[in-house]
């Protein structure tokens, strides 16, 4: 099930997505079986997050407005890093408002042995500043990526948004600025309405959409982008089964992230891995590399 991404080999293509597995301090039996884990987004200062309610769901969607609640850089270094799992590569998801923020985080963490790499979160829809506002501009994506490149030799994944922007231009900008991979895509802008109150339901006023319903949209983006950029694409959106992972690999993803499904079943990755192995057996596929991007035209 090995997959190579640049110089790094992952034991399989499954990655636990940011914000859906905390800082990786629980469920070690799951973490040790996946290709990698991405932590909750870290910011320079601690963030208390958005007012509740923060989460809403339907049969096939989750809408969240957690708002990057996190312990902040300092506590991350003193309290979390010493406990971070060593059984699996850990990628630290970073968020910030401007270049200065990314610099403040990457200077101390950039060479830390315990961290496998970084995922730049330029796509969070749940914060007023930074987040998606950075990821919607090719110029800003390019600047942040180049800065990060200058501060670490570790792999840099740039997590992008498809909200109100041209993901093609922005993915190219990330690739040109030295990203090792793009992660497509963060949650989609979403509004839930409380009809009785005539107000948005979520405390933050709006949120980010994830879950099975977003998969066809994200599959499309993954196929389009993987055809036009030279760096690997990592998929994130709506995976709940081995079949979903297979589809993303066909569409051109090298790694596939699992997000919302972890909330329903923290052991989902183990099931999905077994399903993927079964599917490989049935389809006569020996390794993920054989099918990555092998979707044929109609």
């Amino acid at each position: 099930m090995n997959v190579k991404l640049g110089k790094t080999t992952f034991r399989n293509p499954l990655v636990l997505a940011s914000g859906t597995f905390g800082y990786g301090l629980t469920f070690p039996e799951v973490i040790e079986k996946v290709g990698a884990l991405v932590t909750k987004g870290i910011t320079v200062e601690e963030r208390i997050g958005n007012p509740p309610p923060r989460i809403w769901d339907s049969a096939e969607t989750v809408v969240n407005s957690v708002g990057l609640e996190n312990v902040g850089l300092q506590r991350f270094q003193t309290e979390i890093l010493p406990m971070i799992p060593t059984s699996t590569p850990v990628y630290v998801n970073l968020a910030g408002v401007d270049l200065g923020d990314f610099k403040s985080i990457l200077q101390p963490l950039g060479q830390d042995q315990r961290i496998a790499g970084f995922e730049l979160n330029l796509s969070c829809p749940n914060v007023k500043e930074g987040g998606a506002a950075l990821g919607q501009s090719s110029r800003k994506v390019s600047e942040v990526t180049a800065l990060a490149r200058s501060l670490t030799v570790k792999p840099i994944w740039v997590k992008l948004t498809s909200n109100f922007c041209d993901v093609r231009e922005i993915s190219k900008a990330a690739a040109d600025a030295g990203a090792d991979a793009v992660v497509l895509v963060n949650t989609l802008n979403a509004l839930v309405i409380d009809v009785e109150k005539r107000k948005p339901f979520l405390g933050a006023g709006s949120g980010g959409l994830s879950g099975p319903a977003v998969k066809p949209h994200v599959l499309y983006i993954v196929r389009e982008i993987s055809r036009i950029i030279d760096i690997p694409v990592i998929a994130s959106g709506g995976v709940v089964s081995g079949l979903d992972v297979f589809e993303y690999l066909l569409a051109g993803a090298r790694l596939v992230q699992l997000g919302s499904i972890n909330l329903v079943d923290p052991g989902a990755a183990l099931r999905i891995l077994e399903e993927l192995k079964d599917l490989f057996r049935r389809e006569g596929v020996n390794s993920p590399t054989e099918i990555i991007g092998r979707l044929e035209d109609r």
């Binding site: 629980t26 509740p52 989460i55 049969a59 099975p212 329903v264």
Partner: protein, 248 residues
């Protein structure tokens, strides 16, 4: 905390939109009052939380009120059906060494207090309960409380059974309230908020609800604001909080 499959042993209607489920939990770990299980349901992506309402050996009781499609689905499960749950989640109540203890249940909020009352009585700690509801047919578990409490006081907002008035008003007038060393309350948010303002001298612990993403500390979806203006996770630090520590 483990994921398990549990057959439904009984599903009984207790009142309008109120249901009692007994499940057999294979390999049940030690559970504490205040803890809850996360139920996989049809029609919604995320699990739904229900508190432990009672225990008999490896069988657990849950009591639910239908408020949306998740709880409506749970209300119609049949005997023998297998449910998919994760638990026990959350921190249990630390059983106090000394009584008397006073339990204040509003509506379906009485359910987790029944299990607390049972554990208190097993330890020989005196406890009194106020079971409140809007109206008579929404009162639940009164007979069960009588088995394990020293005194059970019933109150309804409309006076159709027991004392008439809001639970907080009734509580203020009772001599059991002044005697209690500690109080535990579970009910709708306005009830808990009102309770905060009636000037009780003793510690009051509240069983809180919130919309949850995972119930396991993974997503920070379940925030409740603390007195320190920080958010606390209902699923991990809670669901039972010192009433003075939280903002309602």
């Amino acid at each position: 905390m483990i994921r398990l499959k549990a057959p439904v042993l009984e599903n009984r209607e207790l009142g309008p939109g109120l249901y009692s489920l007994w499940l057999a939990i294979e390999g049940l770990n030690e559970v504490q009052p205040g803890q809850f299980f996360e139920f996989r349901i049809r029609e919604r992506f995320l699990r739904r939380a229900l508190s432990i309402a009672d225990q008999k050996g490896r069988n657990l009781r849950f009591v639910l009120k239908t408020v949306g499609s998740g709880t409506q689905w749970l209300a119609q499960v049949r005997v023998g059906e297998m449910l998919d749950l994760i638990g026990p989640c959350g921190q249990g109540v630390k059983i106090p060494d000394q009584g008397p203890v006073m339990l204040l249940g509003g509506g379906v909020g009485s359910a987790p207090l029944l299990y607390l009352a049972r554990r208190l009585s097993e330890k020989g700690i005196k406890n009194d309960a106020v079971i409140a509801a809007c109206t008579r047919n929404e009162l639940i578990l009164v007979e069960e409380f009588k088995e394990v409490c020293r005194e059970v006081i019933v109150s309804t907002d409309d006076g159709s059974s027991g004392h008439k008035g809001l639970l907080t008003e009734v509580v203020r007038t009772l001599h059991q309230t002044t005697q209690a060393k500690v109080l535990y309350a579970c009910g709708p948010e306005p009830m808990l908020a009102a309770l905060k303002n009636i000037g009780l001298k003793q510690p009051v612990y509240a069983f809180l609800e919130s919309r949850m993403g995972c119930g396991m500390g993974l997503c920070v979806g379940c925030a409740v604001k603390g007195r320190d203006s920080r958010y606390h996770r209902v699923c991990l630090e809670g669901p039972v909080f010192d009433l003075t520590e939280i903002e309602l």
